[in-house]
């Protein structure tokens, strides 16, 4: 395990970290000012989509520049495990939002109306 972490052939040079840092700061500032200054009078959803995209880009930048996760990462399983984690996260978050939104959409009656309905129909 030691050798596997240390024998990876990636550039741990200063340039990598500086580049990653500058990119991350830039992306953060762009996202921040898009929200704060409401740039170009875009609709909130357009801004939201853009900053979500920016966040994902910064995520990849940090992975690549700071955490050195490359396609050729060795040991190979490290890269595969990472994608499995992403899959689990997508299912968890996406699934929860989907299910809860669907449940929410089915709540046509208020709780009082539900009670009333149950009284009338079933005698509960």
């Amino acid at each position: 395990m030691n050798e596997e972490i240390q024998n990876q052939h990636f550039e741990k040079s200063l340039a990598t970290y500086v580049a990653g840092f500058i990119l991350s700061v830039t992306l953060t500032l762009v996202a921040y000012y898009m929200v704060v200054d409401r740039v170009w009078s875009l609709t909130p959803w357009t801004i939201a989509g853009s900053i979500a995209g920016i966040a994902l880009v910064q995520f990849v930048v940090q992975l690549f520049f700071f955490m050195h996760l490359r396609v050729k990462t060795k040991p190979r399983w490290r890269f595969v495990v990472f994608f499995f984690m992403i899959l689990v996260v997508l299912i968890l978050v996406g699934g929860s939002i989907w299910i809860m939104a669907s449940l929410n959409g089915r709540m046509v009656m208020t709780p009082d109306q539900v009670n009333q309905y149950m009284n009338d129909q079933v005698g509960l």
């Binding site: 741990k12 990653g20 991350s24 704060v36 940090q62 984690m85 968890l92 939002i97």
Partner: protein, 173 residues
Amino acid sequence: MTDCVLFATLFAVYAVLHVNTFTGPAGWQIFDLPNVLIETLILLTSSFACGLGVIALHNKSKFGVMLWFGVTFALGLIFLGFELNEFAGLIAAGDSWQTSAFLSAFFTLVGTHGLHIVIGLVWIGVMIGQVAWEGLTEGVTRRLTLLSLFWHFLDVIWIFIFTIVYLFGSLRI
């Protein structure tokens, strides 16, 4: 990776509950964006300092390692100070996690990240101690590498918190 799943769950909860503000305030009413920007840049810089520490580690520079991980620690501590300050302000204004589902989800998500930061700080402290005591041995090197991964991971989670909680909240999404 499993830590990511933990945070994914908390994000899912936040996504579902952030509209349930009950009688309390919504996100855009309580978020102090300039403060958050400063927090984000501090954490980002601490991640960079951590990277410099790893470079020092590979150059076998004991002083460099202690210096840069010390800087990481200091910046992490400052970040925590800002965050605790924000929380204290919210609670003092009456907007604690007991007020609404949104606030519960907010405090749990951001609070858990803060707790991870605390653990990271303890780990950095211990590692600086170990470097001072036994030098850059194989075990110490391995643990410092893992620590740097952990610290970068915390910064990544913060990017998502910053975007999804603070920025989306300010857009009233």
